[in-house]
Symmetry: C2
Subunit: 454 residues, 2 copies
Amino acid sequence: MLQYIESNKERFLSELFDLLRIPSISTDKKYKDDVIKAAEFLKNKLSEAGADNAELCATPGYPIVFAEKIIDEKLPTVLVYGHYDVQPADPLNLWTTPPFEPEIRNGKIYARGACDDKGQTYMHVKAFETMMKNGALPCNIKFMLEGEEESGSEHLEGFVTENKDKIAADVILISDTGIIANDVPAITVGLRGMSYMEVEVTGPNRDLHSGLYGGGVPNPINVLTKMIASLTDDEGKITIPGFYDKVEVLSDAQRAELAKAPFDQEFFKSEIGLKDVQGEKGYSTPERVSIRPTLDVNGIWGGYMEEGAKTVIPSKAHAKISMRLVPFQEPEEITALFTKHFESIAPESVSVKVIPHHGGDPAVIPTDSIAYKAASKAMESTFGKTPVPVRSGGSIPIVAMFKEQLGLDSILMGFGLDSDAIHSPNEHYGVFNFMKGIETIPYFYKYYAEMMKG
Amino acid sequence: MLQYIESNKERFLSELFDLLRIPSISTDKKYKDDVIKAAEFLKNKLSEAGADNAELCATPGYPIVFAEKIIDEKLPTVLVYGHYDVQPADPLNLWTTPPFEPEIRNGKIYARGACDDKGQTYMHVKAFETMMKNGALPCNIKFMLEGEEESGSEHLEGFVTENKDKIAADVILISDTGIIANDVPAITVGLRGMSYMEVEVTGPNRDLHSGLYGGGVPNPINVLTKMIASLTDDEGKITIPGFYDKVEVLSDAQRAELAKAPFDQEFFKSEIGLKDVQGEKGYSTPERVSIRPTLDVNGIWGGYMEEGAKTVIPSKAHAKISMRLVPFQEPEEITALFTKHFESIAPESVSVKVIPHHGGDPAVIPTDSIAYKAASKAMESTFGKTPVPVRSGGSIPIVAMFKEQLGLDSILMGFGLDSDAIHSPNEHYGVFNFMKGIETIPYFYKYYAEMMKG
């Protein structure tokens, strides 16, 4: 199979490039046709690779790409989850090459979605092709690829609950996470959840001249900065009442175990050009980005944002604020706590709107399952090292949903790097990582089928 | 002359509309040609009205429109100042009709610049025409109309100092302020100064994924909100050390005198749809917007500002912050104090840039001069009431500069209303106010010439 992979490398990359050229930004309606186009592309490639029943399953939003290969009903079944939609590409001016014109530089594929998640999803399509063409698929496989992950997976849960038979499986396999370094493999065993809010503060009913009115009226930007500033204290703690009530408290032993994952703070800082780290008092940087919840403003806007000076007091100011959640925080509860608190801290002189965007539950994945052991052994086979179990700071809310709705654990065997700039300008994915994924995935099936046989 | 004005009303309005159709936004370079076009328009109209030596005087920025009519070297000379540039028109979607397609609705001319300051400047051109055509110009007149008022009058001071002979006069007359109501005339006798700053906070050197990095790195938006929030305290006082050191302290008698100007707080609130006023503790709303300094955020931006949700920690966050100053604060000093303080409150983890935009000195105008008395009597003649002397919260920085460079007082006889929405969407100017200005201005010349004769 390794030989097949090596000799088809150029074609695999060329196909991935075709997929990356489609600007399938699900959060922005003007890319609607492109999102569908990406789904069609994957459906066709799965058919060509040998899958049966490849189809686009309609949802009230973007379709789910489904395909399967059932070789023997008695064998275990792996459900591969991935997503074909991508984050918006702005700010466009910071991209070295256009986000939807993929290019390889220094061994890395630069494009929006190169890593998250088209590159990683496509590894599974090509690993499947490799197993099929070499008569080496050792168990059943199903694909469920969605187009709304970057906008909150709004319709996935409905699809899952209505299609439990269709997607029935023994385990879910996902590549949407990363390894620590190209020589330090890792498997993600914890994910943060999320609450994402948009807020609007309105002062006067129209923009005002800051000379004639300044000092006498609430300036919604000034008010918004005060409100946001008050959401965290000087020690980096979030001040929303009840916010920490359900946060999982790790024992010293658990923290010590997690601290074993290699982490170089100087490299971390230099790689993102940071003068210094910053975060919650009493926790290390790896802890701050994984086992602790956060409150980050993801966007803010109001008033005059163009060149030069305009002396205006705007009518409105806006912000997008997200909170990463840890076990056992519940997004709906946090959203309610945030909303209540944010409304309560608004001065009488303004009105406030809080609009919840998507949320998702945090998740913890057991390391003693057969599937985890198979994934660990697969990575060991191709990297020559046992992968480190890590808690990731990111959110794949559907992992908790799969557990709840299907009772299934997910294996988060991703091949990206923290430095891949996902969600940022110049997102990229190593050709090494793409190929290493295609090599590793068949081992997972091999070991999983063997271990399940007992 | 009243008959001449009435019978030419339609033409006067039609010419003003032609001027309003030119988007002469000086702060945005893409309107460069339009700014020049507005200058040419005024030069031509001054010539047609009977002015001599009408010309565009080059500066390193936009030209000064100069014109004059010297009827007798021994008579006093009035220098009319105005500006032909306008504020940006955004947010465009809030305009009922496009900002550069003037339209009269309910007796009001809607257009960017309708009041500030094309409408008010053009009253002087038409009042001059009226005096000329009726052989009633009682003294010498000079026009100096600039094109950079809305972007800081950067080159006006240079022009003034280099052309002291050319613009030599006995008094300066400006219509860029307002009256209290159409039946309550007013003359502005105080103006606030200004310091206008742009700030930039940089955290990481690129946008980051808020899941993978959130909690461990400084989010420049969170940091900026905390920095801005700390610039004012809970009582609405500005916390920059030294900020209040030179603020003019008015006596109780002075405050009582100013409090005589009619002010209806409920009307003030309802007119701009305000739930409640807000401002510095211990001062009334009219005081807050006139005799007290302010700190207003005029614009803020950073991160994701489009539809939907993007989980990004941006590299940079920005804000435009202006401070209105009162006598005897000095803009250069305040700019320096702000910069020093803002840099000092930045956490170690971020870098901060502070870029000063334009500033201007506050001004106080004496009410015992001949020119003030002439203006007061002129308004009395057309409104039937003595105008109230008022302190305005706005800034016309050049008033202080004229005093310093030329030793001349300015008479701020404007005809706008606070509700004209200058600098805002749907700026407008009453046809009543435009015509009342054209009627009143010739009286000023009449009384001024008479009183100067002694």
